[in-house]
C-alpha cells in the first residue's frame, strides 16, 4: 500500500509556505510583474532583436522557456496580500424565514457567488423537507461527502439542491462523526437513491430508511471505502481480487 504523500492531515501546513504565491485574479496580475521582466521581453519583438545579436541571455530566447521561469522567482513576489476570499453571510427572505424558525442551527453563507448553509445534524431531516416542500427545491442535484480525518466530526455531507421555480441553486452542508448515520432523503427526492448509495460506497456513511443501501460502483463484498482519506490511492482490496479474479494483485 504505497500511500500517496499527500496525507489527509497535511493540507493546511502545506498551504502555508507560499500562501502569497498566487491567489485569485488580482494577485496574479501582480505576480506577473515579478516575472514580467522576463516574460514581457520575450514576447515583444524589440527584445527579440536585442537577443539575437547580443548572443547572450540564453534563457529568454525560446518562447516556451519563459513561462517555466516564473515559479522560481515567485517566492520573491510577495505582493500586497489580497484578503483571501472568505465566505460572507448570505441573506435572503428564505434564509430569514429559516433563521427565524431554527435559529442558530443554521449558518447561511455565500462563497464565490454561491449560497450554502451549514446546518446542524439534528435539523437535517426537517430542513431538507422544508426546502423541498415550502421553498420549492424540487430537484436534488447531488449528494456527496468530504472526509476530514483530523476533525472530530470527520465528514461533511453536502446536498446540492436546485429549484426550477426560482432558478436558484443552494447547498446544504452538515457535519457528522464517523459511524453516525443520516436520514435517507429518498422519500423527498427519488434521485437520492443512487446518490446515497454512492456516498455509502465511497465513504461508508449510512442512510437510515434507504430502501436498498448497498454498494453501487464497487463490487459487493469489497472492503473499505475508497474516498476516505486514509484509503491510499494505490490501495485495493487484495483479498477480494484474489478470491474473485484469481490473480495475484499487481501491487
Amino acid at each position: 500500500m504505497p500511500d500517496d504523500p499527500k496525507s489527509p492531515s497535511s493540507p493546511p501546513p502545506e498551504g502555508e509556505p507560499k500562501p502569497t504565491a498566487d491567489k485569485p485574479a488580482a494577485p496574479s496580475s501582480v505576480t506577473a510583474t515579478a516575472s514580467g521582466s522576463v516574460q514581457a521581453d520575450v514576447k515583444t519583438p524589440p527584445e527579440k532583436d536585442k537577443a539575437l545579436p547580443a548572443t547572450a541571455p540564453v534563457p529568454p530566447k525560446p518562447a516556451a522557456a519563459a513561462p517555466v521561469t516564473p515559479p522560481a522567482t515567485k517566492p520573491a513576489a510577495a505582493p500586497a496580500k489580497p484578503a483571501a476570499p472568505t465566505p460572507t453571510p448570505w441573506d435572503s427572505p428564505m434564509v430569514a424565514k429559516l433563521k427565524a424558525g431554527y435559529g442558530s442551527g443554521i449558518e447561511p453563507l455565500t462563497y464565490a457567488g454561491q449560497n450554502y448553509m451549514i446546518v446542524d445534524r439534528s435539523l437535517i431531516p426537517e430542513i431538507l423537507q422544508v426546502l423541498r416542500n415550502e421553498d420549492q427545491f424540487d430537484y436534488c442535484v447531488d449528494i456527496t461527502a468530504v472526509h476530514y480525518p483530523q476533525r472530530e466530526k470527520q465528514f461533511d455531507v453536502i446536498w446540492v439542491l436546485y429549484s426550477y421555480a426560482r432558478n436558484e441553486r443552494i447547498r446544504v452542508k452538515t457535519q457528522i462523526v464517523d459511524g453516525e448515520s443520516l436520514p435517507s432523503s429518498v422519500p423527498i427526492w427519488a434521485t437520492a437513491n443512487w446518490l446515497e448509495r454512492e456516498v455509502y460506497d465511497m465513504f461508508g456513511i449510512k442512510f437510515d430508511g434507504h430502501p436498498d443501501l448497498k454498494r453501487i460502483l464497487l463490487p459487493e463484498g469489497w472492503k473499505g471505502h475508497p474516498l476516505r482519506k486514509d484509503y491510499g490511492i494505490l490501495q485495493q482490496d487484495n483479498e477480494w481480487v484474489q478470491i474473485n479474479l484469481g490473480i495475484e494483485s499487481g501491487q
Binding site: S10, P12, A21, K23, Y139, T191, L195, L227, Y231, I233
Partner: protein
C-alpha cells in the same frame, strides 16, 4: 401499458401486477457484455413472458476511481482525466472542469477563448448526438443511420484533430482559457462543416422521422412524465422531451452563452420518439450557435493570467454545465494547496440511468434496448 409509468409509487419493486402470461416470473441478465448496453452495463430483468415487471441496474464495471485520482493530482494534471469520463463528449467535460477551477481561482477566460470554447463544445454536442443517433438506431434495427452519422461525425473529429491533435479525448481547454490559438483556416473549416452538415440533418430525418418501423418502435415507448423526471433528477434532452423547458445554457448561462440566440426544443409526450425529435432539433440549434460564435470571433488573448502553480484559496465551489447528456456538475473543495482536496463529479448519465426502471416497467424486453439507447448513457461516465 403506459399508466404503469405515470407515478413514482411504482418504484416499489414489490407492487403486485396482473400476470400477463400464465407463466412463472423469470429473472434474466442482460449484459454486462452486450453491444446494445453501450458499454458494460448489466441489467437484471424480472420478466413475465416478454413483459418487464421490474429491473435493476448493476454498474461499476468501468469504475476507475476518477474522483480519488483527482485528489492526488494537481489542478492542471487532473484536466485530461475528465476527458475520459464521457469520452464521446470530452470537450464538454473539459469545459465544466476548467470553468469550475476558474471559479475557485476567481479568473475568467478572455472573450476569444470563450468563443472558441463555445464553438468546440457545440461541435461536440453535435458529435455526441450523432453517435447517439447512429447507435440508438442500430440497436433498434436500422443500420443505415450509423453509417451516415459516423461519416459526418468524422468531419468534426477532423477539426478537433487539426486544432489540438486529438480526436476524442481532446484536452482542448486549459484552466483560464485555451492553450492553442486556432489554426489558420479554422473558421473556414467550421463554416464549411456547418454548410455541409445542415442538409445532413434533413437526411437523417428523412430516414427515420416518418419511417413506420421507427415510429412503431419509439412512439409511446419508455414514457416518463415531467414530475417523474424532476423527482429522479433527470436532466438534458430526456427532461426536455417530457416538456420541461430547462437548459442550463439559458437558466444559468455559463461561458458566454448569453450572447447567443437559440431556442430550447422540447417535447410533450416524454417518449422515445420525442427524445429523438428533441435531440435532432438540438443539433440544429447547435449549428445556429456555432454560426453566431464563429462569425463574431473576437481577437485577443486566448488565456487569462493564471499562475503556473495553481493554488486556489481554500473554499468550495459547485459549477455545472449543460453537457450533451444533461447537467454535468463539478464540486471541488480546495484546501489552498496545489491539489484539490476533493473533486466530485455529478455525471448526467449516472443520474439519468436511474430512470431506466421507471421507463421500462410494463414494456417489452425489446423496448428495454430502445430505452437504454434513448437515455444516451456513456458507461465511462456512469462508473467514472
Amino acid at each position: 401499458m403506459t399508466d404503469a409509468n405515470s407515478s413514482l409509487s411504482h418504484l416499489d419493486l414489490e407492487t403486485p401486477e396482473k400476470p400477463f402470461l400464465d407463466a412463472n416470473e423469470l429473472v434474466i441478465n442482460m449484459g454486462p457484455q452486450h453491444p446494445a448496453t453501450h458499454g458494460v452495463l448489466r441489467v437484471i430483468l424480472r420478466l413475465d413472458g416478454e413483459k418487464v415487471l421490474g429491473l435493476e441496474c448493476v454498474i461499476g464495471y468501468l469504475h476507475r476511481g476518477v474522483e480519488k485520482i483527482g485528489e492526488h493530482r494537481t489542478y492542471t494534471m487532473f484536466n485530461p482525466y475528465v476527458d475520459r469520463m464521457d469520452y464521446v463528449a470530452a470537450v464538454s467535460n473539459g469545459l465544466g472542469y476548467c470553468e469550475t477551477v476558474e471559479k475557485l481561482l476567481n479568473v475568467e477566460a478572455p472573450p476569444r477563448a470563450q468563443h472558441v470554447r463555445v464553438v468546440l463544445t457545440e461541435l461536440n454536442r453535435i458529435a455526441s448526438h450523432q453517435l447517439w443517433l447512429g447507435t440508438h438506431a442500430l440497436d433498434i434495427g436500422a443500420i443505415t443511420p450509423l453509417f451516415y452519422t459516423f461519416r459526418d461525425r468524422e468531419e468534426i473529429l477532423k477539426i478537433y484533430e487539426k486544432y489540438c491533435g486529438a480526436r476524442l479525448t481532446t484536452h482542448a481547454f486549459r484552466i483560464g482559457g485555451l492553450q492553442y490559438e486556432t489554426y489558420a483556416g479554422f473558421e473556414k473549416d467550421v463554416k464549411n462543416f456547418l454548410n455541409f452538415f445542415r442538409p445532413k440533418i434533413d437526411e437523417y430525418e428523412e430516414l427515420l422521422t416518418t419511417n413506420r418501423i421507427w415510429l412503431e418502435r419509439t412512439k409511446n415507448i419508455g414514457r416518463i412524465s415531467a414530475p417523474d423526471c424532476i423527482a429522479l433528477g433527470v436532466t438534458g434532452p430526456v427532461l426536455r422531451a417530457s416538456g420541461v423547458k430547462w437548459d442550463l445554457r439559458k437558466a444559468q448561462p455559463y461561458a458566454n452563452y448569453k450572447n447567443f440566440d437559440f431556442d430550447i426544443p422540447t417535447g410533450q409526450n416524454g417518449d422515445t420518439y420525442d427524445r429523438y425529435l428533441v435531440r435532432m432539433a438540438e443539433m440544429r440549434q447547435s449549428v445556429r450557435i456555432i454560426e453566431q460564435a464563429i462569425d463574431a470571433l473576437p481577437e485577443g488573448p486566448i488565456i487569462a493570467k493564471v499562475p503556473k502553480v495553481m493554488k486556489p484559496a481554500a473554499g468550495e465551489v459547485y459549477h455545472s454545465i449543460e453537457a450533451p447528456k444533461g447537467e454535468l456538475g463539478y464540486f471541488i473543495v480546495s484546501d489552498g494547496s496545489t491539489q484539490p482536496y476533493r473533486v466530485r463529479v455529478r455525471p448526467p448519465s449516472f443520474v439519468n440511468l436511474q430512470a431506466l426502471e421507471v421507463m421500462c416497467r410494463g414494456q417489452l424486453v425489446a423496448d428495454v434496448i430502445a430505452v437504454i439507447g434513448t437515455l444516451d448513457i456513456v458507461l465511462g461516465e456512469v462508473d467514472r
